[in-house]
Homo-oligomer: 260 residues x 2
Amino acid sequence: MSKNYLSLPITRVVKNKVSQENDNVVQEVPITIFLNDKEFVTLLCSPQYLKELAVGFLCSEGILLDPSDLYHLSVNEEEGIINVRAAAGQAEKQFMKRYITSCCGRGRSSFYFINDARSMSKVNNSIRITPQQIWKLTTKLEEKSALFRQTGGVHNAALCTPDEVILFFEDIGRHNAVDKINGYCFLNNIELQDKIMVFSGRISSEILIKVAKMKIPIIVSRSAPTVLAVNMAKELGITVVGFARGNRLNIYTNPQRIAV
Amino acid sequence: MSKNYLSLPITRVVKNKVSQENDNVVQEVPITIFLNDKEFVTLLCSPQYLKELAVGFLCSEGILLDPSDLYHLSVNEEEGIINVRAAAGQAEKQFMKRYITSCCGRGRSSFYFINDARSMSKVNNSIRITPQQIWKLTTKLEEKSALFRQTGGVHNAALCTPDEVILFFEDIGRHNAVDKINGYCFLNNIELQDKIMVFSGRISSEILIKVAKMKIPIIVSRSAPTVLAVNMAKELGITVVGFARGNRLNIYTNPQRIAV
């Protein structure tokens, strides 16, 4: 497995002091997914858990719906290529269509993509968590973020029960960290509907859509949500908690799941 | 012009204290660009300077090369639609091709996209700046970041001379803030080759490519670069300065432009 960072020579300046040093710089690699022998997408990511990333991305895009849909997957780390054989068909065509018309962004109303709207339904799970439990989880996440402390360049995402971090991924891409969780759970049959996503980055509409498709009822971030994400979360029954740091947090939607 | 944020009702928890308050939450809007009557791309962005965003994005993608290429542009803010008439032709087809094969990411080697490699050349400008001048600029940027302080949700990018901030844009998308600078300069004939880009976000390969296409010789960030961006900057002759905060900074490439 590739290292997440490289040591590079830099010139460091502190006040009037100039020194030649080595600094850990975070890796960024382009990975191209081939689906059924066709070039499908290229993602820029941290070079770990590439299998989980590819599977999670394909789940999030509606290509993989059930473990039986995945026939074969091979990772060529050196060339940055992942070959996937899967039961695709309709979803594959929709993906291409969506990305031709709306690449790197989404449509115009709250449910901007027909494909997304069709594949999402309201999350009804009644799991509850206290603010104290949330702060314990965010503290654990910060302790685990060794890479961030080394390079200052990655986001992390964790899948948690109210009391434990059960999965943790770091990536230079906010979306990739979430996709890696999705992929790992798909490959290992881990139930998502009673879990909490704890996330380091901003909760944008694209992150909210991924969480909604995973049917995760609560997303917690140390950062801010956007208005669009908040509006979607309301419609989808997802609890959004932002600015969860130290002993503070803001509940933006569906506060019934936070036991205050 | 739409506001960059909305006041939304939230539940705030601080230790054991629970209160119902209003909080400023950052806006995120989907904007679809139609190029010569064809749906071209949808961007998620802050709802300001949409004209500059569209023009900057089209510059960055090689669609607009010269002011005479732009025939007409109209913004329908309410519907989130921008109509552009421009001399496109070959570049338009290349964009579609690139985005079909590599949406939301890029290829596999340092110069992963043929289109990008073709449109970039080495930056030779010999502009110099001192660390003290850099720290003055980053301090000014922080003072200007009122929206960030209100919502915690945006990135900013500034175009500077060694002594002054001459342009400043904020956006929920890192790429958009840079595209808005590019668009403004294209529309107002502002020279870029003797300027410095000061940026709040991580310097990824995609940001570096945008800066390289603008021929800006120095990019400064309060955050970290990636290894891929550092490697590209070396090849392209661009100076990368990271972690520029307070009285510290790291020079990753082409240190000859930093007068220490």
